[in-house]
């Protein structure tokens, strides 16, 4: 850490810039200057695949501020963009590049989700030079410091990104063990990183790459098939990432015959499909901090929380004082005053005037 950074993070500077904090001043001079916050400049936007009729996929190279603490292979980052200069929207993306240290550039690889504000903006509109907001790298779906001699990677769809980061890290670390890399995709045209994977398969040391397309007749994941490929796979450290159905299949495959629990060797991460609003008082409202769940009654979140026995802070109960603002982590809410609906994750909502539609999760 340079002397400037040490100074900027000192209590003396904190006292002088109180109550706003030093970053609120630095960002005005140069958006890439920060003492605590993390931001990044987009350096490059590279189209991976572009199948007509399908959303394009791109790899974005990010140069983070010096406050970035680096990442371990398999971690993800929350990335926020201000689309059209106003509302900042934040989404989670896996890092696709190999592990890297503080302040070093890294990449994310993502598909432009047709309904996704952030991914569409990043893939289709963002230009080199654009500034985005970041969290530090997060997540425990990572490679251990000491990698076992044999590892299995199983991914589906865009679940390939964290595993690609792991594979690239192993290549860089000149891992001498064996890697079995399985990936399930809709069709060969949808395959991202195809060339690199082919290179690795050809020239890499001990890497077994299997790109599978069950829709075209390739075998689906099953204990018998995997046993043939990797004898004794239940005891081989495995990392799996992908959509919920694939993860379900992996779990079943890794459970001992007749048992329920998947083997301890299995590490998983899966993407939850976004909850779709159905405009009705159905589904579950979950209050994640207290671990309380209740069927959605259609009333405001404040009323539902109180009915569930919680006592969240509140004030005016009519949407003017913001005392009751809480973070909605998932789901769609309707503002009962304006009829406005919002589905953004990790969004502050006034629970006294917000009624959930369908499933909803609140940090209460």
């Amino acid at each position: 850490m340079g002397i400037t950074q040490t100074l900027l993070r000192s209590r003396a500077v904190e006292a002088l810039t109180s109550p706003h904090g030093v970053d609120r001043y630095l960002e005005l001079v140069n958006p890439m200057w920060a003492a605590k916050e993390v931001r990044a400049r987009i350096v490059e936007v590279h189209r991976e695949v572009d199948v007509p009729g399908h959303p394009p996929v791109a790899t974005i190279t990010l140069q983070p501020t010096s406050t970035w603490r680096g990442h371990r292979a398999g971690q993800h980052v929350q990335l926020g963009v201000e689309v059209h200069g106003a509302r900042r929207t934040t989404r989670v993306f896996s890092v696709s590049s190999h592990e890297a240290g503080p302040g070093e550039p890294f990449t994310i690889t993502l598909r432009a989700n047709p309904d996704g504000v952030v991914s569409k903006f990043l893939v289709e509109e963002a230009q080199p030079g654009t500034i985005v907001h970041l969290s530090q790298a997060e997540g425990e779906f990572t490679l251990p410091a000491h990698v076992p001699d044999h590892v299995v990677f199983i991914s589906g769809g865009s679940g390939i990104t964290p595993l690609m980061s792991m594979l690239r890290t192993l290549q860089r670390r000149t891992h001498r063990g064996r890697v079995t890399f399985l990936h399930y995709a809709q069709s060969p045209e949808h395959q991202i990183f195809a060339e690199e994977l082919a290179d690795v398969a050809r020239s890499g040391y001990g890497v077994d790459v299997h790109l599978l397309h069950p829709e075209l007749g390739d075998p689906a994941l099953s204990p018998a098939w995997l046993e043939r490929l990797v004898p004794g796979y239940r005891d081989v450290p495995t990392w799996a990432c992908g959509p919920a159905p694939l993860i379900e299949a992996v779990r079943k495959t890794y459970a001992a015959p007749g048992g329920e629990e998947a083997s301890d060797a299995l590490n998983i991460e899966y993407f939850k499909p976004p909850t779709v609003s159905n405009g009705a008082a159905e589904g579950q409202v979950s209050f994640s901090r207290t671990g309380t769940n209740a069927p959605n009654s259609g009333a405001t979140l404040l009323e539902q929380a109180e009915a569930a026995g919680l006592s969240p802070e509140f004030g005016c109960r009519m949407g003017i004082c913001f005392s009751c603002t809480a973070t909605k982590t998932e789901g769609t809410v309707t503002n009962v005053l304006t009829g406005e609906t919002s589905s953004l994750p990790d969004e502050g909502v006034r629970i006294c005037v917000s009624a959930p539609q369908g499933d909803c999760s609140l940090d209460l």
Partner: protein, 376 residues
């Protein structure tokens, strides 16, 4: 229903619907222009702050330094702090402009202030016994507040509150008057007081120790300059706020008056109370910015969470609606509203006609309560 209410329940409902319609139209239209505006105000504020702090190194520029720092503090408190903490910019998703995270350059910790202001004052606006902003627990500012000889000091209290306004706002949340009356325990204040002490310590250190010390031998000048900037900000904010709530013609309410047949206040009546409980100040665009658009106190009370830069455009519609319903829209120049407030502060210091206090005639200039006056 009270005789203060000039609208029928049906009219009140329609009135409320018209207000809701304004609100929805503006909320649906929020976007880049609003974001750019507040960011520019923040930039200007930081610029004035940096310039002010820097100019203290140049002794002949002292008045300029004070002016620059005063402008910075006024912008920070009014157009940025007050409005951001109302949640006006929460929709942007920017942590630097978020009501849950913003802290402002004044003695009152934002969390306490938001409770006393956004919740208590904005929910119970001008309801006697509920809204602690009616006289701030110190002043008699409404005829319906019972008179007490203590209030003879009304003008003095108002003057002191103006000079020490940021301290007054910080202490407001301790509800000292309620502790004195035995309605509140000192125990309830312990955590609050600790937070206030922490914030005051930081503010005092910054303005009265650290920045003066950084100017070395100019310490006394910088110290005095920072104190002056804080004072100017105090006087300005006090005056803007008092003109928004206490000029002649502003109505107060009692809990009984606001209830409809069901015992609750209708949405239309809530808007009605906000309208009649506030007053505007006319002025230039710059004046509105420097007052945090609280010169549009009426619109602010009707729509406290809509970005303040929208109040001027909303004001025209609100006025037109008021005319149609025959409702008073209290507005006037800064001079007129200030005069009106000052007059009230003096008038309210004296006992109402007919108050029976032996020997009071000396203080009331010969007015004397008599049994006949009581009967009348």
């Amino acid at each position: 229903m009270s005789d203060k209410i000039t609208l029928t329940p049906e009219q009140l409902e329609k009135f409320g619907d018209e207000m809701d319609a304004i609100r929805q139209r503006v909320v649906a239209d929020l976007g880049e222009a609003d974001a750019t505006y507040i960011r520019n105000v923040v930039k200007a504020q930081r610029g004035f702050e940096a310039a002010g702090r820097a100019l203290f190194y140049l002794p002949p520029a002292w008045p300029l330094a004070v002016a620059s720092l005063s402008i910075s503090k006024i912008l920070d408190n009014m157009e940025i702090g007050h409005n951001v903490m109302h949640g006006q910019y929460d929709w942007m998703g920017d942590p630097g402009l978020n009501s849950r995270m913003y802290e402002w350059d004044t003695m009152a910790p934002s969390a306490n202030w938001k409770h006393g202001h956004n919740y208590i004052h904005h929910t119970y606006t001008n309801i006697l016994g509920k809204d602690r902003d009616i006289g701030y627990g110190i002043l008699r500012i409404d005829e319906d507040q019972p008179w007490h000889p203590y209030y003879l000091g009304n003008p003095l209290y108002a003057f002191l509150l103006m000079v020490f306004f940021e301290w007054g706002v910080a202490l407001h949340d301790l509800e000292v008057e309620n502790v004195v009356k035995g309605k509140r325990d000192w125990e309830d204040n312990k955590a609050l007081a600790a937070g206030i002490r922490r914030k005051i310590k930081r503010q005092v250190f910054k303005d009265y120790v650290a920045f003066p010390a950084l100017t070395g031998p100019l310490f006394p000048l910088t110290f005095a300059g920072n104190a002056t900037a804080n004072l100017i900000r105090n006087i300005w904010t006090f005056n803007i706020i008092f003109c928004g709530h206490f000029p002649a013609g502003v109505a107060t309410f009692t809990l009984d008056e606001i209830a409809n047949e069901d015992g609750v206040e209708s949405r239309g009546h809530w808007y009605y109370r906000q309208l009649l409980g506030s007053a505007n100040i006319t002025g230039s665009k710059l004046f509105h910015v420097m007052s945090g658009n609280l010169s549009h106190q009426i619109e602010h009370h009707l729509f406290p969470d809509i970005p303040a830069r929208r109040y001027p455009e909303i004001a025209e519609e609100v006025r037109e609606i008021c005319e149609r319903y025959g409702l008073q829209y209290n507005t006037g120049s800064l001079g007129k509203q200030l005069g009106s407030v000052a007059k009230k502060i003096f008038k309210m210091s004296l006992p109402p006609k007919g108050t029976k206090i032996p020997g009071l005639s000396v203080l009331t200039g010969g007015r004397q309560s008599t049994p006949a006056a009581d009967a009348a």
